[in-house]
Amino acid sequence: MAVAFLDFEQPIAELEAKIEELRHVGSDSEVNINDEIARLQAKSRQLTMSIFASLTPWQITQLARHPQRPYTLDYVSAVCREFHELHGDRMFGDDLAIVGGLARLEDRVVMVVGHQKGRDTKERVRRNYGMPKPEGYRKALRLMRLAERFRLPLVTLIDTPGAFPGVGAEERGQCEAIARNLFDMSVLGVPIVTVVTGEGGSGGALAIGVCDRLLMLQYSTYSVISPEPCASILWKSTDKKEAAAEALGLTAQRLYQLGLIDEVLEEPLGGAHRDPAAMSVTLKAAVIHHLEELEKLSVEELRERRSARIASFGVYTEEVGE
């Protein structure tokens, strides 16, 4: 599949188009086409490196939403030896915006839960653009409790614009579903490793993201609100989405500096979609590394540390000596 280039990647796109063109004429020409192609490819790499060396938060937001970005099921099939998807919340339905199931990660069995977006229009609609409804969060909770009962570590992958803002979702208790997950995950008796792979959209993301270790892919984002609605509320103009992305500090690098995440997973040159296999290798190694550390803890230690970790979130001042 041809790579889809974003607006700020246009110089790379032009170069790649030229390379493609040369490949077609290549066969019936005697000059050193291959040398020329190699030269252009090197140039394209250089160009990509220089463009990607200084991406703005808005450009990173676009990468996090890239239509070719690997999704949860892509990672699961690349990383896990087995995966058996489990469906339904046992109360209302099966929300396809969240997938989950039993998996083998090397020699350990884990429960995987993640948001799932669709690749083509039909699939996107079926997956509701990765925006879960209460039944999705309740399915996730059911699987988490199942994991706890059989002492299986939990791996969650986050990639959602946010919880679905619809009438039906509200009727079925969207806020309660999210709140309940936060409540239960905070005391779940198994290790939880969360990786933000794409968009970390607010409460809809956090609802499967209360964890012991929080990792982010280099070009993923995580924030309380997306840049566009933030701009329209605070700046009263959606044109300010770039400024909003900047102000929200939603990139992995910035959040790491702020001490809000544990690790940034480096992406292949040009982003995860340019080399999903390489990205999967990195992700797998990181998840296993963190699970190994967490598995050394007793359930009590695990709960205590998670509780202390969550309680430490926040920045405020305090006057002393009253």
Binding site: A163, P165, G166, V167, A169, E170, E171, R172, G173, Q174, C175, E176, I178, A179, R180, L182, F183, D184, S186, V187, S202, G203, L206, A207, V210, Y222, S223, V224, I225, P229, C230, I233, L234, W235, K236, K240, A243, A244, A247, L248, G249, L250, L255, L258, L260, R306, S307, I310, A311, F313, G314, V315, Y316, T317, E318, E319, V320, E322
Partner: protein, 288 residues
């Protein structure tokens, strides 16, 4: 100064100066357009005597003063104050927005926590100040709420929270999102300690607050006609282009859909919660 303000008792004047509600001696009920005498409205806990509309104008401290037994109350987390960790700046600086909200409300942030008694029973009660940046939840709200819970676990006393909030505070970005986890995790510890938590949802309770501490009560109560939901009605209408059903996301709607235990009139709230807590704690009924 009008002749009316001159004869007004000074207590009401000072209370009024601290708050950013529209100045004036007469208030128009937004629901029934009745023109109401402010002092009478205050006595009626900002419930319209004509149509029983529960107004948002009641401040956090006014609410707690009514709710708790009279006397000394110990404030929890008062010394915790906001900090602009991200140097957030939109059309205005977050620091300036904070300073303005502090001046208008007399509060350092959007949650007030007091330890006191309710019909003699030691309790901790907290209330969101909606006039403070729409009662939005940032690091200070989260930390104060967590301290309220810690106090309740230590003293084994019940927690009551009156929420009125637009949701998480955007200017604190991921820090404020994490307050949803922080408050929910605190409540999980409270539940494990078997200490009761009563959540009272008031107009409006939305977003990150409804999707965390407000929906996690052992009992979820609400005031009549309060707007309660995750996504606000305007956003749903705009993004989904759906026409919203009559009474959508109001308390009565939430009760019908199973999100609430009961709807309680503001003027009966104190008695009702005292009674419920005594049942949960297996204490003898209140003396009549």
């Amino acid at each position: 100064m009008s002749w009316f303000e001159k004869i007004m008792p000074s207590r009401i004047k000072t209370e009024r100066r601290k708050r950013s509600v529209p100045e004036g001696l007469w208030i128009k009920c937004p629901a029934c357009d009745a023109v109401l005498y402010r002092a009478e409205l205050e006595r009626n806990l900002y419930v319209c005597p004509k149509c029983h509309n529960h107004m948002r104008d009641i401040g956090a401290r006014e609410r707690l003063a009514y709710f708790l037994d009279p006397g000394e109350h110990a404030e929890i987390g008062a010394q915790v104050a906001p900090e602009d960790a991200l140097k957030f700046r939109d059309s205005r600086r977050y620091r300036d927005r904070l300073a303005q909200a502090q001046k208008a409300t007399g509060e350092k942030d959007a949650l007030v926590v007091l330890a006191g008694t309710l019909h003699g029973l030691p309790v901790v009660a907290c209330a969101f100040e909606f006039q403070f940046l729409a009662g939005s939840m940032g690091s200070v709200v989260g930390e104060r709420f967590k301290r309220a819970v810690d106090h309740c676990i230590e003293q084994r006393c019940p927690l009551i929270c009156f929420s009125s909030s637009g949701g998480a505070r955007m200017q604190e970005a991921l820090f404020s999102l994490q307050q949803m986890a922080k408050t929910s995790a605190a409540l999980a510890r409270l539940a494990a300690a078997r200490v009761p938590y009563i959540s009272v949802l008031t107009d409006p309770t939305l977003g990150g607050v409804s999707a965390s501490l407000a929906m996690l009560g052992d009992l979820n109560l609400a005031e009549p006609r309060a707007l309660i939901g995750f996504t606000g009605p305007r956003v749903i209408e705009q993004t989904m282009r759906e026409t919203l059903p009559e009474g959508f996301q109001r308390s009565e709607f939430q009760l019908e859909h199973g999100a609430l235990d009961m709807i309680v009139d503001r003027r009966d709230m104190r008695e009702r919660i005292a009674v419920l807590l005594r049942l949960l704690l297996k204490l003898p009924p209140l003396a009549a």
